[in-house]
């Protein structure tokens, strides 16, 4: 979808997620908290898609940035008196960007399994820091009492999740817009080139390493913002935002939806979190079995994820 041949105009189908989100707000008022959570994970998945789907950076440590963003917003709200939600987002974005830049500059010199292990190591280290630094993070008990002021001084976070839903929706919209601009830009085309054939990109004069570091930093920033949103919506942050599990979860969500397709990052979290919500109620002990089965089906029969299935169906229909 990216590249010099791609038409960057917004297609009608691209309005659907936003129409669906607004419809959801009015039609499902009892599920707005779940809706806000889905929107947050869409943003997180988008950030992962940027590096995995477009730049080909395989990672098991993307939760490092999500978790850092979550704890930064939490620490600002609980310890420093900085309660303005945008200031918290900015703080989370800045620290996540710094971490992305610093770690990216080191690990992106490696590839394949080494890179995968290093990304995992980074989130594992952060998890351990969060676990031990109890005065700042609350340790295993989590960080409660995160204060978040009304948005623009007007919209207080309410119990029903109305404010949270719209706040997350607007933030996601901005994130989606930025990602979309990037993937249709020459930079996006260049990233696709790196994913396809890094050796060739070197041979056409692209400073591949620095280009990857930059996109990794941008992706980390977005993931940090997603983490901060989660903290603000819950007014709490726990250790489950760091480590292998959330990294694996977001990877599963993206694979379910379809990697490198932009809207796979929308479909995956919706399916995953709705399935999780339903299965956890029906089968509290075995809910992950259902997710696992779904993933196996998608990986075996739909390598492009759910959007890949949609593509095939659409093509077949056109061929008939």
């Amino acid at each position: 979808m990216s590249g010099y041949s791609a038409d960057p105009r917004i297609r009608w189908a691209e309005y659907l997620p936003w129409i669906a989100a607004i419809a959801f707000f009015f039609l499902m008022p009892g599920y707005l908290s779940l809706g806000a959570r889905i929107l947050i994970f869409i943003l997180f998945a988008l950030s992962l898609d940027l590096i995995l789907g477009y730049a080909g950076i395989v990672t098991l440590g993307h939760s490092a940035f999500f978790g850092l963003g979550a704890y930064t917003a939490g620490a600002l709200g609980a310890h420093t008196g900085i309660t303005d939600p945008f200031a918290q987002l900015a703080g989370a974005a800045a620290l996540s960007a710094l971490l992305g830049l610093a770690t990216g500059a080191v690990i992106l010199r490696t590839r394949a399994l080494t890179l995968l292990m290093l990304t995992l190591a980074i989130t594992a280290i952060l998890l351990e820091i969060a676990n031990k630094w109890t005065s700042m993070t609350g340790g295993a008990d989590g960080l409660a009492g995160v204060k978040v002021a009304p948005i623009l001084g007007l919209f207080r976070f309410d119990l029903y999740g109305k404010t949270a839903f719209f706040y997350c929706l607007v933030t996601l919209f901005v994130g989606w817009w930025v990602v979309r601009r990037i993937i249709y830009s020459p930079y996006g085309a260049m990233l696709t080139g790196i994913r396809e054939n890094a050796a060739r990109m070197h041979a056409i004069g692209a400073p591949v390493y620095w280009r990857l570091v930059l996109i990794y930093t941008i992706s980390a920033t977005m993931a940090g913002i997603a983490g901060a949103l989660l903290t603000q919506v819950n007014q709490f942050v726990g250790l489950n935002v760091l480590g292998l599990e959330p990294s694996g979860d977001i990877l599963v969500m993206l694979i379910l939806g379809g990697v490198g397709r932009l809207y796979g990052a929308f479909i995956g979290p919706i399916v995953y979190l709705l399935a999780q919500d339903y299965l956890a109620k029906q089968y509290p002990e075995y809910w992950y079995l259902g997710i696992g089965a779904l993933l196996i089906v998608v990986v075996l029969f739909a390598r492009g994820g759910i959007l890949g299935i949609a593509d095939v169906l659409f093509r077949n229909k056109k061929a008939l």
Binding site: G3, S5, P8, R181, S185, A189, A203, A206
Partner: protein, 249 residues
């Protein structure tokens, strides 16, 4: 001053020496071929020139300037382009995108993040012009993976030309291509701008003798001899170590 020059260029892998004190000069606008039997170290030599492989010792100069320590991408930006022995393209991208990526890199457009790539008309127009010059403009929208191999070789050349190199290294441009298509490649090569110095590595002696005005023979990492095609064809040592039965009159 030479377009490209190496001085005592060496490369060893442990005890194995694959390039041994190679002194090589490429003049401005040269049409030069590097030949040698399999394992002579030709591709190693090109990889060292490009910066894909670090030499063990020696120097590389591009337009009289030291580039020995420079990265591959910096060398390309200074005017060194190459094609690969085994086609190395962006297979899932269109032919146009393959060429546009290189042009965008040359023009400094590739690092831009905001304006859509397809709105950079100057890039796509130049890419189409290049493809047209090589006779594959009709394939601009075709995915490279769906392209015949001979045309893929032309895309390789188009990408390299899109970088507007001062020196172009062609690593077996007709490798794996049926003879009728290799003639098309040869015709395309003959039409390349005369100000580009070209070093071609090729096994196909018909192509070499048709294209090159000078030939260097490399054997086991050592320059055996250098001369005009006529001189090389008459050189007994070349016959012995390389040409064998294929000798040209």
């Amino acid at each position: 001053m030479y377009s490209l020059e190496t001085r005592k260029l060496c490369k060893s892998f442990g005890a194995l020496t694959v390039a041994d004190r190679i002194d090589f000069r490429l003049e401005a606008g040269a049409r030069h071929a590097l030949i040698g039997p399999n394992g002579a170290g030709k591709t190693t030599f090109v990889n060292m020139l490009m910066g894909a492989l670090a030499p063990s010792s020696g120097e590389i100069l591009l337009g009289g300037e030291q580039i020995t320590k420079l990265s591959q991408s910096t060398r390309v930006r200074r005017g060194l382009g190459r094609t690969f022995q085994v086609t190395s393209l962006f297979r899932s991208l269109s032919v146009l995108d393959n060429v546009a990526l290189g042009i965008a890199e040359r023009e400094g457009v590739a690092r831009r993040m905001w304006r859509p790539a397809s709105r950079h008309k100057e890039i796509t127009d130049e890419a189409r012009e290049l493809l047209s010059g090589l006779g594959i403009a009709d394939e601009a929208g075709t995915r490279v993976a769906d392209l015949a191999y001979g045309k893929q070789r032309l895309v390789e050349i188009a990408i390299a030309l899109g970088l507007k190199p001062k020196v172009l290294l062609l690593d077996e441009p007709a490798a794996g291509v049926p003879s009728h298509e290799s003639q098309k490649i040869m015709m395309s090569l003959e039409r390349l701008p005369s100000d580009i110095a070209i070093l071609m590595i090729e096994h196909d002696m018909d192509l070499v003798f048709r294209f090159a005005r000078r030939i260097t023979v490399l054997v086991q990492g050592v320059v055996l001899t250098e001369g005009t095609p006529q001189e090389i064809a008459k050189d007994e040592r070349v016959h012995q170590v390389y040409l064998g039965e294929q000798s040209h009159a």
